[in-house]
Symmetry: C2
Subunit: 311 residues, 2 copies
């Protein structure tokens, strides 16, 4: 019997217990999965950074700490942690992002909202033929793992895709730009703009009034990345003036987005409650189970964190 301690919040336990049990069973691992053990009996710890468990010293038999999230910044500096630490690389997170971005790009490309608003029996008023994807420029700011996956999915669909990143990239089928001049060009061709940059000092407030004005008339902004990249007031002004057609936002400066925030009631803004990049319990549980199986077989763990580098 392998003793696996689940060290995270109650809510996570309710989400992860069943998928973890299924994933262990699918690998024929005899696991005792619980939220409490005597520390010296624990073989593996499934860990989320907001867990009360902070002192790893008594877990003398523990073979590895398996982080549930991609980010390990909250645990990597813990001096009591001497066990191997792995981070989560969940293909569900990347697939979920590609699906969210593609779904909302197609929604705005086809203007599905137009048909939803014309269900009153007036066929002629509803009639409108959208252009083809090949006529609709899409720009993605950020060409990391997620940005690149989205760019490739949209290009496969026929959209002319421009990607912009700090350092120049080369991706077949994508127009890759970088630098300040590249940003001007990326924005001016963005009939649909997707924000997938990491949040840094340079990207905070990136989309201000001046940069929003560079977007073509009628452009749509999708933000599944980080909230502070957009200056909220400037976005509202650009929508109200008619310069932008719509904004669909999944991330915000404050989350949950407070009920009085003007984004909620704005007719040209769709608020999504930070769902584009959720780690999926089912796919994440498969990664955890695979690493337990590897540990038991004496094989190297996947996604091991190099603590000297911090990731």
């Amino acid at each position: 019997m392998i003793n696996v301690l689940f060290a995270a919040t109650e809510q996570r336990w309710s989400e992860y217990e069943a998928p973890l049990r299924e994933s262990f069973a699918a690998r024929d691992l005899s696991v005792d999965l619980r939220t409490d053990f005597a520390p010296e009996e624990v073989d593996y710890i499934v860990y989320a950074p907001n867990s009360p468990l902070q002192d790893f010293t008594p877990y003398t038999r523990c073979k590895a700490v398996l982080n549930l999230w991609a980010g390990v910044e909250a645990i990597v500096g813990n001096q009591t942690l001497t066990q191997p630490l792995t981070r989560m690389v969940d293909h569900g997170l990347s697939r979920g992002m590609v699906e969210w971005v593609s779904g909302h790009v197609l929604r705005h490309h086809l203007d599905i909202d137009h048909y939803l608003a014309h269900q009153d029996g007036d066929w002629a008023a509803a009639h409108k033929v959208p252009p083809l994807a090949e006529e609709r420029g899409v720009t993605i700011l950020g060409l990391g793992e997620l940005g690149r996956a989205c760019a490739e999915a949209l290009a496969q669909f026929g959209f002319p895709v421009t990607g912009w990143s700090r350092s120049q990239k080369e991706i077949p089928g994508i127009t890759c730009l970088s630098g300040e001049t590249g940003l001007d060009e990326a924005l001016s061709g963005a009939q649909i703009l997707v924000l997938l940059l990491p949040l840094t000092d340079e990207t905070t407030d990136l989309l201000d009034a001046a940069r929003l004005a560079q977007l073509p008339q009628g452009a749509v902004v999708l933000n599944p990345g980080r909230g502070p990249m957009i200056v909220d007031e400037a976005l509202i002004a650009a929508l109200d003036s008619g310069h932008l057609r719509h904004a669909t936002l999944d991330v915000f400066r404050t989350e949950p987005l407070p009920a009085p925030h003007p984004f909620w009631a704005h007719p040209k803004i769709t608020v999504c409650p930070h769902i584009a990049s959720e780690t999926r319990p089912r796919t994440a549980a498969q990664v955890i189970a695979e690493n337990v199986a590897r540990g038991e077989a004496g094989r190297p763990l996947k996604f091991l964190v190099d603590r000297s580098r911090g990731y």
Copy 2:
């Protein structure tokens, strides 16, 4: 100068004049494009079946009649037509269908309507994480040119795609079924069902109460194919009982769909005004211009109709 007669309705002229002029110019063809000529001066006729032109006898110099639509059934039997006849094969039609089907599959897969209905400031009520495409079975009835293109696009996206057709097909990455037993299996796995069969005696009323009952609980029906494949009353009953989640329909038994028809006001039905498979003037004009260029260069025309077969 090449004299090209545009023989269709006024509305088509307003849609096609500019794209045709652009396409001829792009090929450096000196074309005089008009809606009237002395018949004996005409070199090519761009033709739509609802044109008043029905007697082709006086068009003695005409090198070809270029049909604007894919269907030629209204002209192919015309005994006065001795000139070569081409039909339209517009990649815009196929791409438009793939985009419409993918956009609405993703809309229902992600349940975008849920977020659109939760814009009232209640983050927790809006919160809902959709499954991944790999967990959502999509079935396409009909594996002709359009059905196959849609199946391949959705499979590339990660959906497990089942395709059903009268004769057994083999398409890499798609579970291909046929026959009555195959139809049972195709329907029972269809969390999202897409109708792209041709309309025949066998497919009329195909989706009746019994077949709708075979769909899994919560299934969504998309019909961009032909209206009479669905029994309207049975669809409404299956939605009202809660068995089906939604239907998005682009085609109807009567078009335009009359304002009193219950589909319009039904909260679980989205009516689209037959836009999924529109021939696009821009891409269709390119096909016309290419054939004029081929005719002038003495090369064989593309998409020539074999009048002995009728298509």
